[in-house]
Subunit: 332 residues, 2 copies
């Protein structure tokens, strides 16, 4: 295992130390491993909290800031954050208008966030709502999930719902919007290689030099099937077809994310996006906005995923709203 780390047991603590130094606009609670916006807190704004296992950076800590999350809990690598982390984050993030938990659908995450919501409500009266993101069309149930896994849609949801919260909507409205997005987003990913969790010291799974994993999970968990290594155009087809088979994306403007898994060069992601865009055009899907890059990763895994979100005027307006986080930022 070749990594830029010290003791494998300290990777998360060391990485958070560096994140805090690189981003003075964030506050890091090193004891609870929670990343906060350090701007003065407006009372009355719904707070957005997400989190999950680490190793998917910039998700979630890199999406804390104006127009996106108020706080993010960082679990150990590929491990759910503990309830006490989430309780601390929920209490600290609340500005009196309640907290929305954005939770990727993994059994441990769902359980721990649920427990934390109950504890925070009981101890401090914080009103908590929850959306469980479940956009991965690859498999119905998985190694760590009952139902669909939550993957790329999480990035788009944090951006769009973040903008809505910034506008001052109340907890019920923000939650309803998150649920609406959940119905409208679908993803599918693939891996060229495994990833290596520092504490494990060896690749999570074995993948022969001439095979790829279609529908892989973001922790390297099995997907739909292993197929022979193929040209990008064929891989794009195998990613896009299952998404379009699952939901009709015609007739509405669509936001497309072509996401890198961590170890794939940007030139390959652009190349893949070209293939995906062509397939969507052929299928009569109107691409309104595009995001290409590493947004929800699996450590050093080579591969990519495609996320489609059926938008409308309101969703596009919220997508275009200003955002200022380490991982996503643009002008109005």
């Amino acid at each position: 295992m070749k990594k830029l780390i010290n003791d494998p047991a300290d990777v998360l603590a060391d990485a958070l130390k560096g994140l805090a130094k690189a981003h003075p606009e964030l506050d890091v609670d090193h004891e609870h491993r929670v990343i906060y916006r350090s701007e003065p807190k407006d009372q009355g704004k719904v707070a957005l909290l997400s989190g999950g296992g680490s190793g998917h950076e910039p998700l979630h800590g890199g999406f804390v800031g104006l127009g996106m999350l108020d706080a993010a809990c960082a679990g150990e690598m590929f491990t759910s954050p503990t309830p006490d982390q989430v309780v601390a984050a929920t209490k600290a993030a609340d500005r009196g208008a309640g907290v929305l938990h954005i939770v990727k659908n993994y059994t441990g995450d769902v359980m721990n966030f649920e427990m934390a919501a109950e504890i925070a409500a009981a101890e401090s009266g914080v009103e908590v709502a929850t959306v469980v993101v479940a956009d991965d069309v690859a498999v119905q149930d998985s190694l760590y999930t009952a139902g669909r896994r939550g993957v790329g849609l999480t990035v788009l949801m944090e951006k769009i719902v973040g903008a809505a919260a910034e506008e001052g909507r109340d907890l019920a409205a923000v939650t309803a919007l998150a649920e609406k997005l959940n119905e409208r987003g679908r993803s599918m990913g693939m891996a060229l290689t495994s990833c290596t969790v520092p504490a494990a010291g060896k690749p999570t799974f074995d993948l022969p030099e001439d095979e790829i994993e279609m529908g892989v999970g973001i922790h390297g968990e099995p997907g739909r099937k292993r197929v022979p290594l193929a040209p990008a155009s064929e891989i794009a087809t195998q990613l896009v077809e299952p998404i379009l088979a699952d939901r009709d994306f015609t007739g509405e403007p669509v936001i497309v994310m072509l996401n890198g898994m961590g170890g794939t060069p940007l030139s390959e992601l652009h190349l893949m996006y070209g293939e995906v865009a062509e397939l969507l055009e052929q299928a009569g899907v109107e691409v309104a906005r595009t995001l290409v890059g590493d947004y929800i990763t699996s450590l050093d895994m080579a591969g990519c995923s495609v996320t489609l979100l059926a938008a409308d005027d309101e969703i596009l307006r919220l997508w275009d709203a200003p955002v200022r986080t380490p991982g996503l930022r643009w002008l109005a």
Copy 2:
């Protein structure tokens, strides 16, 4: 070789096709492989043109846009752009106030940009000035370079000089600023693994599982020495010490870039930045601004580089100016 590509001979053309689709705010001349800003051109603004071999994305095409480059020439992977590419870009980018060529110090790049400057001047009377970036302290001469190689400082220079050009400074002033930055910037990089050029189909160099290459070039060319794999804290020391030995960075605010080579997870880059920040603190260097992420890469190479730029009030102000490119963007 496992890559998201079609025919290895078409990688660059296919990637530019995807880049154009993903970024409608850019114009791509596919014949000459030049990326332009598509906004209406103001007459009288000095145009900034850079370019070089591909495989270092987002450099340079991803830095075309408001507040940075006006155009970028994309050579084949790790191969200098041809003079006719640079001539076409120089003529098209000119707004009547001349063009600054920002060239990384590699023999082929320097030669082809120089030839193109002469042709463009002779054919169309375009006034061209050139800055040759040479910031890599690792080696004096290298496989492809007489003198120091041009690496990470190029990113910072394109940002800062881009802001100055946006303010309406003339070609002489913009060139003088670029030269000033050249004197004030230093870099050093390292590789955990090789990279693989698609057309070659195999790793550029062999690096045993227990060794790393200190001072590696961005094309995988040899650095200072191979050393045993070490903890991040020691690797940080081996990157920072040669930089500080080469120039005194105390007494002025410093911009620091911790850059990923393409295959390294963001969590490791943050971890490395934490180590680098601590060393700089111990050395009495005042960090004023920080940039952590993949900005000048070497395809799928795992590794990182450190760039320090001694700033002043003017440089910091230009650094903070708005920028809107695919690879770098922030609010004012």
